[in-house]
């Protein structure tokens, strides 16, 4: 579903933000992408989604290269960024219709999905209002609804749980699981370990731009007495 190889990126000449990153995600997998602040999670996701370009390496989504086969690749995923900055002077429903048009969602499908997701996230009453009257969490839920709307095979989210209330956080987890059950894949970043622990098939740990682990939770904490937290802290220890 997603294959990234030898991804390298530096914003300036001195610091390397991503260093030769390789990752492969299969159909139906739910992957948690964890790492300390500034590890390079957002950078990776931005390169995968075509927001920024990498210096080296390639990204393939559902068999389509993001650089050479851009449209097909972009039709294969949707993205929720860590900051809910979207064009705000339109109403929520205008935005959702816009996204549905871009991804060719039929009228029936969009009606059914928008109603379902917006009710679950409890933003159905706000859809007619301008986005700039939304709270941070509402904007985020609108973005998640928009990203779920096309039902693209790969669902990518950057720190989605930040700013969500417990109810919505739970809804999101269920929707992610549901998406994988239907054969889709999910890649989301977080720095909150609890979210990953009882949700993901596999965990990718990134530190200082390097992928230091990519495996199932069980394999990562081989020693059963040690918690993920301890393992994580040990692996990313810079002393």
């Amino acid at each position: 579903m997603l294959k990234i190889s030898q991804l390298t990126k530096s914003y300036d000449k001195k610091n390397i933000a991503l260093d030769n990153l390789n990752l492969e995600i299969k159909k139906g997998e739910l992957i948690g992408f964890i790492g300390p602040n500034g590890a390079g999670k957002t950078t990776t996701l931005k390169i995968i989604t075509g927001i920024i370009t990498s210096d080296k390496g390639s990204v393939e989504i559902d068999g389509h290269n993001i650089a050479t086969d851009m449209i097909a690749a972009k039709k294969s995923f949707t993205f929720v960024p860590d900051h809910p900055e979207i064009y705000e002077s339109i109403s929520g429903i205008d935005y959702l219709n816009f996204i549905a048009d871009i991804y060719d969602v039929s009228i029936e499908d969009r009606e059914e999905r928008i109603q379902s997701f917006s009710t679950q996230f409890q933003i159905d009453n706000a859809l007619g209002k301008k986005i700039n009257t939304y709270s941070h969490g509402m904007k985020q839920k609108l973005l998640i609804t928009a990203a779920l709307l096309p039902q693209a095979p790969l669902f990518i989210l950057d720190e989605p749980h930040v700013g969500l209330d417990p109810h919505s956080s739970r809804v999101l987890k269920d929707l992610m699981l549901d998406h994988c059950r239907k054969g889709g894949s999910v890649l989301f970043s977080t720095h909150v370990l609890e979210v990953v622990e009882n949700l993901c098939d596999k965990i990718a740990i990134i530190d200082k731009g390097k992928l230091i682990a990519f495996d199932t939770l069980d394999n990562i904490s081989k020693n059963k007495d040690v918690s993920l937290e301890d393992t994580f802290l040990e692996m990313t220890d810079h002393e």
């Binding site: 931005k46 989604t49 075509g50 927001i51 920024i52 370009t53 650089a67 851009m70 449209i71 097909a72 690749a73 972009k74 039709k75 949707t78 993205f79 960024p81 900051h83 900055e85 979207i86 064009y87 002077s89 339109i90 109403s91 429903i93 205008d94 219709n97 816009f98 996204i99 549905a100 048009d101 871009i102 991804y103 009228i107 969009r110 009606e111 928008i114 009453n125 706000a126 859809l127 007619g128 209002k129 301008k130 700039n132 009257t133």
Partner: protein
């Protein structure tokens, strides 16, 4: 007080820092050379001032140029201060952060004004500073004059800022909390600028009455009083520099009062206008929910237009650059400056086609809408990046936006020009076709400029539009095109005007093919490599 100074410092640091960051966006030497470009824009103004000064100096009244440019500087600063104040006070994103800090509202206002000060100071320097140097050079650099002029230049923005604040804020507090406050803001600003231009025109008309001039010239300080009539402090300043200590006192008193006025009003302004204005729109009216399909190209066009139309700063700027020729044209014809007699004068008949062509083409020459089309999106740019839209479509929709807006302005101008200055239909056709090709060329050139220098990380919409070197580069491209067009006119000056315009049209087509080739070769890829934030 200490906190206020800190706030001012961080404000100015932020402004200059962002400017420098933008200048060196691509690092390298080219960035530093680009930083000098605004100076080039000042050159024609400086040349004009030298001419004005010399014509006054010829009749031994060099000091009158001081009065003249002092007023010009004040008016320019005042007109510019209005959109600057609106944008940095009401539509800048740092406000919510500042509002949470334990600082007095007054300090926020003063710090914001201080952030605008350097912009205005530069305008003052170009206009009044040049005259000051010329005057000092003529009068032998007397210490007294040097000190007064230096103080005058440094404090020049105080009065325009005070006036700008006084005019803008009551209006903003009036529209605050209203449903269509953005619309009101734009209309109000347009009316204000229109009114200022109108006053200018009326004032300059009274001067052109020759009988009155003779009468005025016979009085002591008659000409000085006439020129400075609209703004007495300029008279006091001029007299003060030449000799009178009393007048200098008056001038200083006015400056101080303006300063005190700002200070006294500041906290009121904060409570009455700023805080009120930044409450979210209260209208809870929700739109009906419907599910409907729209064509993707149309969607993108709508989005691009929406980004302009829902941001008052962008809207005002677009209207001003694209419709300023329309506004001036209509205003001038209304005020009788450009009446039918002057335009239908047999002496200018051979140039009529050129005049009509110049009028219709002006929106795409003066405006540089495409040069900020990517920058305008700012933090929203990632949206178009993630969606499965071809880069070609995304770019085409931006061009289409520019062409649409230009087209509206040009259609209005074409109709008005045709009514006032009828040219033969066939000539009109040639003119219109040339205008279309030139406009398409300009919009492509602007887009290349913006792809080369996108500026996405802005917090203040004015910074995106005005502070953007792209606009300068875009104007530069117009100068080059104008030069080439003039070359054609010069070489073929025995040809009929229509043929010359046709050749200019061919020039546009030729240049467009070259630009298109370069675009496809280089800039399509470069566009795809712009890093969104």
């Amino acid at each position: 007080m200490n906190k206020l100074l800190k706030l001012i410092r961080i404000n100015i640091k932020d402004t200059t820092g962002r400017y420098m960051q933008q200048m060196n966006a691509k690092g390298k030497i080219s960035g530093k050379i680009l930083a000098l470009l605004p100076l080039l824009a000042a050159l024609p103004a400086i040349a004009l001032i030298v001419i004005i000064y010399n014509s006054f100096a010829q009749i031994n009244l060099g000091y009158l140029a001081l009065t003249y440019t002092n007023i010009a500087a004040i008016i320019l600063m005042f007109v510019s201060s209005v959109p600057l104040i609106v944008s940095s006070f009401f539509y800048s994103k740092d406000l919510s952060m500042l509002a949470t800090l334990p600082i007095k509202g007054r300090s926020i206002i003063i710090a914001k004004l201080a952030g605008l000060y350097p912009y205005l100071l530069i305008m003052g320097l170009v206009l009044f500073g040049t005259t000051s140097i010329l005057y000092l050079n003529d009068t032998g650099f007397q210490i007294r004059a040097i000190i007064i002029l230096l103080l005058a230049i440094i404090t020049l923005p105080v009065i325009p800022l005070a006036l700008g604040t006084l005019v803008t804020l009551p209006f903003m507090s009036l529209v605050a909390g209203r449903k269509h406050r953005n619309l009101f803001t734009v209309i109000g600003n347009l009316l204000l600028i229109g009114a200022i231009l109108g006053i200018e025109i009326v004032m300059s008309k009274t001067v052109s009455n020759s009988e009155a001039i003779i009468k005025i010239l016979s009085q002591k300080d008659g000409l000085l009083n006439l020129i400075g009539k609209g703004y007495p402090p300029s008279i006091w300043l001029t007299k003060g520099i030449v000799s009178s200590n009393l007048d200098i006192l008056w001038y200083i008193l006015v400056q101080i009062s303006a300063f005190i006025l700002i200070f006294l009003l500041a906290s009121k302004i904060y409570d009455q206008a700023l805080k009120k204005f930044n409450q979210q729109e209260s209208s809870g009216e929700a739109q009906k929910i419907s599910y409907k399909k729209t064509n993707i190209k149309l969607l993108l066009l709508k989005r691009n237009l929406g980004i302009i139309f829902t941001n008052p700063t962008f809207l005002l700027n677009t209207i001003m650059t694209i419709f300023i020729p329309v506004i001036l044209f209509v205003l001038y014809s209304l005020m009788g400056i450009m009446n039918l007699n002057t335009l239908n004068n047999p002496a200018i008949l051979p140039f009529r086609d050129f005049i009509v062509f110049g009028i219709i083409i002006s929106p795409s020459i003066l405006g540089s809408l495409s040069a900020t089309s990517i920058s305008r999106e700012g933090k929203f740019f990632w949206e178009t990046r993630v969606m499965p839209i071809r880069h070609e479509d995304s770019i085409a929709s931006r061009e289409l936006t520019t062409l649409l807006l230009n087209g509206i302005g040009q259609t209005i101008l074409a109709i008005t020009a045709y009514l006032i200055l009828p040219v033969e239909p066939l000539h009109m056709l040639v003119i219109i076709i040339t205008v279309i090709f030139t406009t398409i060329l300009m919009s492509k050139v602007d887009l290349i400029i913006n792809i080369e220098r996108p500026y996405l990380n802005w917090t203040n919409p004015t910074a995106c539009i005005k502070n953007n070197m792209n606009v300068m580069l875009s104007l530069g491209s117009r100068v080059i095109f104008g030069g080439l067009a003039f070359l054609i006119y010069y070489i073929f000056n025995n040809l009929n005007a229509t043929y010359v315009i046709m050749l200019i049209g061919l020039l546009s087509i030729l240049l467009y093919s070259i630009v298109l080739f370069i675009f496809k070769k280089i800039y399509l890829t470069k566009y795809s490599q712009i890093d969104a934030i």
